[in-house]
Amino acid sequence: MILQALHGLYVRKQDELPPEGFEQKEIPFLIVLNGDGTFGDFQDTRNRSGKKLIARQFRVPKDSGRSGKNAWQSANLLWDHYGYVLCWPKSDSDADKEMARKQHGTFVERVGELAAAYPQDKGVQAVMRFLKSDEREKLLEHPAWEECRKIPGCNLSFRLSDELSLVCESDNVREFVAKSSAQDDDEDDSTTGDVEGICLVTGESATVARLHPRTPIIGAKSNAKIVSFQKNMGFDSYGRQQSYNAPTSKGAAFAYTTALNHLLAKESRQKLLIGSDTMVFWAGEKHRVEDLFADLFGEPAKENLDQTTQAIRSLYTAPQAGTPPLDHDLTPFFVLGLAPNAARIAVRFWHAGTVGETARHIRQHFDDCAVVHGPNQPEYLSLFRLLVSTAMQGKSENIPPNLAGDLMKSILAGTPYPQSLLSAAIRRCRAEREITYPRVSVIKAVLARGTRYYTSNEQEVGMALDVTNTNPGYRLGRLFAVLEKIQEEASPGINATIRDRFYGAASGTPVAAFPHLMKLKNHHLAKLENRGRAVNLEKIVGEIMDGLDDFPTHLSLQDQGRFAVGYYHQRQDFFKKNETTTNVNP
């Protein structure tokens, strides 16, 4: 379904994406002709963007890819640089003049072929008449020509004065290009001959592509492909080599790769890069969720830190009055996770669902992750932040290879998070002794979702401090936070607190750490000058310990998670309490 869905995207975006044999190209100057082929105007298409002038992009027949000393023999159809179009040499030297003359000759010949094939096409005939006449002289007197001359190898194309599109965008030219590109391909494959087969994307009988166009992703080689088979590497089956193994018509191969490249393009808003994985997403038809998705999971831009929050708000409520909520939207929605693997691209995951179902699941994810946090911390954490908090040194290259894909998959499908996520987060907590907001968010989410999914009776950790939670892991976490607080208040400003020394032991094997810590606590309390505060703290310890007979010998991974969450909750509660106590006490 992956190729089919991409093919569908190409069909949907046909007006936006270049047709077979065409590409998008920047054309800085246009020659505007009158219907009779006389010179009309010389138009500058460039727009100022910052300090630079950026030319407009037009859809033109594909570059002929010429090189070498015989390059002048191939001209592009109806567009090229001024050497070809206007016979204008790049310098005054005789060699360059001669070269320009040859190039122009080829260009005129190419247009001549086209003009002979379509005698009724107004645009093509006008260009032909222009090229044959001496209207060129008028152009060279136009004020914009001086500008154009300054750009080395400036590309030019033609437009009729009463039309908006270029001459080379007409249906006739498209037909001509389609025919001639089919011939080119024939020459390409002359060694093997054409193979006919049933296309596995469209189901039609057609010429099968021997090689598929490239679709490079970040981290892969520039010629990486999604569908590729090396020769003699064990991929030849039933006597078939390379892509004949998987019959895909040339048209379908072009269509799906063009669509994928469009999604992967530099300025695309429909892709996400997490760790080494690239994710692209699209809907079955034009849909606002396509714009929303990157905001939901991507790292917010520096100038717009609220981006994620805004995106999530619009997920919870219909953004404008009159827009139907996403929940019951049955538009198909696809997410494709790709990972580089040398010259190939591997599919990490593939999600095909509906917009409504996906929106519900994404919302559930953010609900599961929600946990109390400081006022300056972002309300919602991006996927990248969550993942990187579980990686060594907080570096994205240390995220375990499969984790990003697995996490994304479980978010989209609404299934339990991968257990490796929990163990990774706990491992980082223990190793760095830093129980941070993103880590607790991860741990809490895994626990909460696991409980809901497996419908166990365990009382689960909530968003904020829950004094009624009797789970020993959670309680010990709280206790640990209180003990640390006591130490901090007894000796303010010390470098290493009990957390730095005992966190690992306390969360893993409580019985080995807590009796010692309880003894320490008494010393710390004795040091406190404010007796009332000492009593208060002792009371909290008592409350937490109430009903906890013994320190367990060890805690399971889940309970270690609850330990971390309990610790974090209690600590956040201290920060909060400070505010309220100052308000209450006069």
Partner: protein, 227 residues
């Protein structure tokens, strides 16, 4: 059913496994599975339990009994084929790491029947093979362990007798796109019962769809099968 009949009645077999990979032809290098068992994989399972030159299996319908779930695995594979003329290859030098997107925790009900490839007589007839299949499948006998797409994912199987009701499929309806139906083989270059592939050996495809968890499989000579 009389002895002259050439078609068996519908036989039903439940198969299941921890993992499955019904590889898509376009992604067989970094393997990606189809969403549902393909007809040729189902045929393979049936043939593992009973196959004789005198019969030919036809899969009619595949019910999906468990939600479609995925698993991504990276593993070491050998990136070479050993030529018959060589003295062998050193696997450690031919290692490649490849990714795979497999199905996990799958179960299907295969509905299938077979037809005779030879005219039925005393020794070869539908009733005999039908009873053989029922007997073998209910005892768990097989020529080789049936597998779900690739050999490493072996399958458990169980006959569903006619007087027993069918397990409920999942409630899901979706288009599955074009799916591999089977390979049509050209036997012109075969010698001494050894098949040699020619240009005439080509895959055939059909438009697969899941309707309430059931995938209907067209007959091999129907127009729905594109070859």
């Amino acid at each position: 059913m009389d002895m002259a009949s050439t078609k068996s009645r519908m036989l039903r077999l439940k198969v299941w496994g921890d993992n499955a990979c019904f590889t898509r032809p376009e992604m067989k290098v970094e393997r990606v599975s189809y969403d549902v068992m393909t007809p040729s994989a189902a045929r393979g399972v049936l043939e593992a339990i009973l196959w004789k030159p005198a019969i030919r299996w036809q899969v009619d319908r595949i019910d999906v009994l468990k939600p479609i779930r995925w698993e991504s695995v990276r593993r070491n594979e050998v990136g070479s084929v050993m030529s018959p003329r060589t003295n062998g290859l050193f696997i450690e030098e031919q290692r490649q790491q490849r990714a795979g997107l497999f199905l996990r925790d799958v179960a299907y009900t295969i509905h299938a029947w077979f037809e005779m490839t030879v005219p039925p007589d005393e020794r070869n007839n539908v009733i005999k093979f039908q009873e053989m299949f029922i007997c073998r499948a209910s005892k768990g006998k097989c020529f080789n362990q049936p597998y779900l797409g690739t050999r490493e994912f072996s399958a458990g199987f169980e006959l569903i007798p006619h007087d027993q009701s069918l397990p409920e499929p999942i409630v899901e309806t979706r288009d599955l796109g074009f799916m591999l139906y089977d390979l049509c083989h050209d036997t012109s270059r075969d010698e001494g019962h050894v098949h040699t592939c020619t240009d005439g050996c080509r895959p055939s495809f059909f438009r697969a769809a899941l309707k309430d968890g059931r995938m209907m499989v067209p007959a091999r000579d129907s127009e729905e099968v594109r070859r």
